[in-house]
């Protein structure tokens, strides 16, 4: 079964550094998402992306965050200047149809640790 793959599985960075989290969505999917999960807490929506544009973003997704689809297969989340509170598991997800017409598939996440 096709999977959403995320790399790296764990990334450690120092406060103030830039970090890029990478995702390869399922190949025929067109709708892409980033979520985060702070340890022991609920999963939170960050941003949705379609046709090379942000469709929707949460209040968490401030100017420190950006997303990009640099080529036909990758989808990235960049945090410009990491803070301690950015430490979380970041999940990429994708779907092939608009709205909720088809299931959302999550990757296994990248654990980001900011020291």
């Amino acid at each position: 079964e096709p999977e959403v793959t995320q790399t790296p599985s764990h990334q450690v960075t120092q406060m103030g550094q830039e970090v890029i989290l990478r995702c390869v969505p399922i190949s025929n999917h067109l709708y892409f998402y980033w979520y985060r999960q702070i340890l022991g807490q609920k999963v939170e929506f960050l941003v949705s992306f379609y046709n090379n544009e942000i469709s929707e973003k949460s209040e968490i997704f401030d100017d420190q965050f950006s997303v990009e689809r640099p080529d036909g297969s990758n989808f990235t989340l960049k945090i410009r200047s990491t803070k301690l509170e950015d430490s979380a598991m970041y999940f990429c997800a994708s779907s092939d149809l608009p709205g909720t017409s088809s299931p959302l598939h999550f990757g296994n996440g990248t654990r980001l640790t900011v020291t």
């Binding site: 807490q41 999963v43 929506f45 949705s48 709205g99 909720t100 017409s101 959302l104």
Partner: protein, 113 residues
Amino acid sequence: QQQVKQSPQSLIVQKGGISIINCAYENTAFDYFPWYQQFPGKGPALLIAIRPDVSEKKEGRFTISFNKSAKQFSLHIMDSQPGDSATYFCAATISNSGYALNFGKGTSLLVTP
């Protein structure tokens, strides 16, 4: 403001028993209510979902009950098995917003042998 409230936080059920997890939502515009199952080290995986035009949906041992007037929905796991031990999240969204899901805080389920 917490859009989706989930309870209980944790649940221990004996093998063969029924596990029940409840969620309540605030926004009456929500029209898609999925449940996700998450194992340690993995991403959430869709278990079952319901839309408000039906009051119940069953898939195998998993059933969602939906009460639109009370703005509540629940997951029932019949004949619970040790392999069901995981964290379960309810969520809600407005379909036109795609998957800008509002998640509950999760329920850690342990099914004992």
